[in-house]
Assembly symmetry: C2
Homo-oligomer: 196 residues x 2
DNA sequence: CGATACTGTAAGTGTTCACTTACTGATCTT
DNA sequence: AAGATCAGTAAGTGAACACTTACAGTATCG
């Protein structure tokens, strides 16, 4: 018995760096050598913290989800002037969407979907996002009597799609910052209201 | 002078097979060996038709776009009972979305966006889809007085996003066929009408 | 026919990359 | 201080893969 195990602390410390590298280069191009260099260590060290590269990627997805979820929770927690929580999240998203690089990560992951672990991580992340958004919409529409109606479920998926296309537009340089913001805000409002 | 050059015919003949392989395995995992095997030839032969793997991929994206565009054109050309062309495309999409495997291809391409040729191919494809959809919406709303208003532009992007999330839902097995159909149909109708 | 190009087969080649092994030094517990 | 485990360095290994080269066969033209 000797020396405490600092593995989990190391993991937490490296994750932001690894996440940045994955978001920047995608899965394949983010070689383990690059990841290690970005972390300032040898590849070896990373392999003592995770069994393989795939595990690093899955951990990154979970980390990025946590980051986004935290940001949204903060926005909701703030007491705003006459806006519903959903409206505040929408306003926040239209300003800061894509800054975390989550979407590049998702696109990278979507091409690795023949790996069951990666697929599961992505599925869980999407499902949680969807659930979160659906609840926000339901509360906003004041329809939150325990059960979320089907329309809200669908609107929440459309919302996720909106976020995705904004991410793609950013990635492919099809949409400028102003367009992205307008798209998120105006179509987001339409989905929030449900056309009423 | 001897023997006519059948290269372009060969390319056309191989493209569907190559497209299928790319859609099935993504970019990296669709190795040139696999592509050749699927085509029933040696890798060599493919390299006489395209300069490199990237060119095969770009050609595949263009091919798949052509396929989708043709399908939509056919739907529009058919004279329907009291439905606008946009409504017919929507109905068609909600039934057949994703069958061509275009979305897997897009996800594969999105992780290769540091390659300018791939990025350009994707950007062109998205831009053309967006333009097409925007025109359909404009005609449907009877606002087609020469210029497409901003709302319609945004709605068209949201539409693209809707298609994308349906593709993701299919890929990650988050959405079943019925859900996908409902999502496309109901949220598509909302975007078509613009909430009026 | 015979020259010229196209078509297909077979076997490399050089590189990249995920992952390993061997070893040295540091640090904590008893 | 001893013993054990952790932390970091350096080099290497084997496999996968994009792409090439060399060559034998064949169809098409003058």
């Amino acid at each position: 018995m000797s020396r405490p195990d600092l593995s989990s602390e190391k993991r937490e410390a490296f994750l932001p760096v690894i996440a940045r590298a994955f978001a920047e280069h995608g899965y394949r191009r983010a070689t383990t050598a690059k990841l290690a260099e970005a972390c300032g260590v040898r590849e070896n060290v990373l392999y003592r913290l995770w069994p393989d590269k795939k595990a690093m990627f899955v951990a990154t997805i979970e980390y990025m989800y946590r980051l986004s979820a935290d940001a949204w929770s903060n926005v909701i927690a703030k007491v705003g002037p006459g806006q519903s929580a959903a409206e505040r999240v929408l306003a926040y998203s239209s300003e800061h969407h894509g800054e975390l690089g989550l979407y590049k990560l998702i696109f990278a992951g979507l091409t690795e979907t023949d790996d069951p672990d990666v697929q599961k991580a992505l599925r869980d992340m999407y499902a949680r996002f969807h659930k979160f958004i659906a609840q926000q919409i339901a509360v906003h529409r004041d329809e939150n009597n325990g059960k979320i109606p089907r329309n809200v479920e669908l609107a929440a998926w459309a919302f996720v799609g909106l976020g995705t296309v904004v991410g793609i537009g950013r990635e492919l340089e099809l949409l400028g910052p102003v367009q992205r913001k307008n798209l998120m805000r105006e179509m987001g409002a339409l989905l929030l209201s449900g056309g009423d």
